[in-house]
Amino acid sequence: MRSLRNLLLAALVVLGLSTVILAEEYTFYVVSHGGPGDPFWGVVMKGMQDAAAMITNGTEDTVNAIYLGPAVYSLTELVNMLNSAIAARPDGIVATITDPAALDEPLRRAIDLGIPVIAINVPDPRPAGERIPYLFYVGGDEYLSGRKAAERMLAVRTPTRAVVFIHEVGHHGLELRAQGFMEVMADAGVPADKLAIGTDPTQAVEIIRGYFSANPDTDAVFTLGPIGTLPTVTFLREQGLVGKVMLGCFDLDEVTLNAIKEGIAMFTVTQQQYLQGYLPIQWLYLYNKYGFLPANDILTGPGFVDASNIGLVEQLIIQGYW
Amino acid sequence: MSDQPLVQMVKISKSFGTVQALKDVDFDVRHQEVMGLVGDNGAGKSTLIKILTGVYPPDSGEIYFEGKKVKISSPKDARDLGIETVYQDLALIPLMSISRNFFLGREPVKQVGPIRLLDKRKMDETVQEVLAEIGIRVRSPDEEVAILSGGERQSVAIGRAVYFGAKLLILDEPTSALSIRETHKVLDYILEAKERGLSIVFITHNIYHVYSVADRFTILEHGRKVAEFAKADVSAEEIIEIIRSGHKAATEGEERGPSG
């Protein structure tokens, strides 16, 4: 009898101890080139927080997810933040590979230190042997997004002339989107241009006006983000060109949303960036705890929002998921 | 001509911390006279003048202007009394026109509806007249002061003081940066101003310059007045000697005494 009781007690102790021992705490850093000022990243942050909360509340483990991003786009700031994150010796790092050359050294160092790294939003474009050896990439495919956007337009009708409005020249991701779009258009025999419009809407409208004045047959426009969408929508509305010019946008914000609802824009491309915050946290947890790893990159985009699903998406935007 | 001096500073003392800049200095200037205020660096000339023009108050002593005791607490007070100063580099603003400089702070205006606009015509006409009197010829009073030579600028500043009814004009190193020809022009103009009824305090290191126009001289040394002469009683070389070799020489000079 006594030995049975002792056995039970011992089992209880072991069980209790194992719960304590097996309950882990993980700290993951998400370091990205996007900070406050771009609501796009607000959604990524929510994905990150939701994933961390889900694990913390649903298991015995605790996940701390911390987001770092510079207020104004600055590569140096990004690298500094990354170095700070690495110095904290976290259990995992999630990073946007905004500039592979600049991020190569710090990330390789992190990986050598045994910190698992997942890339999001912007991948390292180099081939497998050369690129930064992060575990995998979660994000959109910029080039593919541009291509699919053009294909969508061509499915409706072949435009006489197409133009891409780029608001941040030299931004690798934007340039890839533009390239994909322009190549598909060119293959279809449509003359396609790229126009740098800058970030000030008043000036952008005038640049757009100048382009249309020189190219009045333009009837397809692709913008690469909300900063480009605002002046474009304003211009089309003011000039009465709604319906005459096909407009494809990128990412979601209130202006883009309304443009789709009012029929000014045909669609907007999304990269479902919620997943870019959510999935890496989940995977870092699974990898740290059980060693699981997906076999391939996870593409979260291109996804499309247009008149057919705008109703659902609109609700979710308010809640911060889109 | 009354015997009463225009300005009388009595037993003025001033220290800055432990440094006694002035001690018991008496200084007076009569009506329509040119007084040369001389002395080596650090003698206290600049401090004395700053007290007279309201930049700082004296620690002790009194100032009388036209016979009445006055308290000069700010540069504005001094200007209101009729004391004007022409500093070497601060007299005119080179980027502005002669007209604007002349009337700075006292511009004539005409009412146009709810606002007061500068009376450009009056400004230009007045300046044109004054320039003609001084003998400076320019294409227009709207020209920048920068086109005037150093001597011309000094003359314009003096002309400004005369125009605005200054009674006492203090010139701080007016000829130091000028050529010989220019210097003579300015000295001539100083005498002109005196003819018009002004008194002038001429502060300088160049004894020969001041000697040619001054009526009397006050010599300061280490914050005290060590000598005062009428021109008739002293030569330029003697003044230089006093400044150069100090109080001892001054005492010897006093033995010779003023005449009359």
């Binding site: 607000g42 640049i207 209130e254 | 500093y87 500068l118």
Partner: protein, 338 residues
């Protein structure tokens, strides 16, 4: 009294057209360089871009010029009195944000506008007080202000833009930036009105004289009784208020304001002022020059796009123009002074 002759040995001659007369006129008008440049660029683009000479094209140039110009006007006035304001871009953003938030909250539009302008004036006052009371150079003070207010903007908005979707456009919005004839907007009227008013104050009032004096030689001005600190304080307030006005005007058209609006504006405004003949060191310049400076900058951008040049060139072109303009203005000045 000896004989005095002026530099060329001639006495006062009756006015007649001559190189002399032109040089004198040139001395009094530093904006000539910008004016000439504007004409040259205008002619140039008229040749390379067929639609350049249309009313729509002019209206477009004027629209861009108006917003930049309102800010540049304030900065010019401040620069002439010897100080800089690098915070105008952030003030534009803050004012627009306040305008947007209050209007969305249902306040009467006029009241919202007034609050936005008052807030801008307040920022200018703070800038001015720091500069005049502590003696910290305005370049540093307003640089700090630029970063501070931009940070406040980001923190308050948490990065999200503010968008306003009224059922009908409030009349005040139309008054600020509505289209009244073709593509011409009321913002151009604000711009021209402000240029005229401020130039009048600068060139034709006692206060304007004090502004020139304060910038030309602050110590000399002070010695002559000019209240230089008060002048600077007032000009800081004016500069910031005008920047705030530009922010409200922009919002009135786009109905949307994001927290990065106005970044980089200060340098463009200073460039326009410098192109127009205002000296970086203060004491000289006028609003007419700024007018041409702003038009020139607007024309270059529009003309390049309409000529089919890659719009990537715009930045390089404006930089080139600024340098050329300063060289030309300096040479002209030297030539005019003989």
């Amino acid at each position: 009294m000896g004989q005095v002759t002026n530099r060329t040995g001639r006495g006062t001659a009756p006015p007649r057209f001559s190189l002399e007369a032109f040089l004198t006129w040139l001395r009094r008008h530093p904006e000539f360089g910008a004016f000439a440049g504007t004409v040259v660029v205008f002619i140039g683009f008229s040749i390379t871009a067929t639609r350049f000479l249309t009313p729509d094209s002019f209206a477009g140039i004027l629209t861009v010029a108006a917003e930049l110009g309102i800010v540049a006007a304030g900065i010019t006035f401040l620069m002439i009195s010897g100080e800089f304001d690098l915070s105008v871009g952030s003030v534009l953003g803050v004012a627009a944000m306040i305008f947007a938030l209050t209007v969305k909250a249902g306040w009467p539009v006029l009241g919202s506008w007034a609050v936005a302008l008052l807030a801008s004036a307040g920022i200018g006052l703070i800038n001015g007080l720091i500069v005049t009371k502590t003696g910290i150079p305005s370049f540093i003070t307003t640089l700090g202000a630029m970063m501070f207010w931009r940070g406040i903007l980001l923190a308050v908005t948490k990065g999200f833009p503010i968008q306003f979707f009224p059922r009908t456009l409030p009349p005040m919005f139309f008054a600020l930036n509505g289209r009244f004839v073709g593509q011409f907007r009321t913002s151009a009227l604000w711009f021209l009105g402000i240029i005229l008013l401020i130039n009048l104050i600068l060139v034709r009032t006692r206060y304007g004289n004090a502004v020139y004096a304060t910038g030309g030689n602050r110590d000399a001005a002070r010695v002559l009784g000019v209240a230089t600190n008060k002048v600077k304080l007032i000009n800081f307030v004016i500069s910031a208020t005008l920047a705030g006005l530009a922010g409200c005007i922009q919002f009135a058209r786009f109905l949307s304001i994001d927290p990065t609006r106005g970044v980089g504006l200060e340098l463009e405004a200073i460039a326009a002022a410098v192109i127009g003949g205002t000296l970086l060191t203060g004491g000289a310049g006028n609003l007419v020059g700024t007018l041409f400076g702003v038009l020139l900058v607007g024309m270059v951008r529009s003309g390049l796009v309409q000529s089919g040049a890659p719009a990537y060139w715009y930045q390089a072109f404006v930089g080139l123009i600024v340098v050329v303009a300063v060289i030309v203005n300096t040479r002209l000045r030297r030539w005019a002074l003989g």
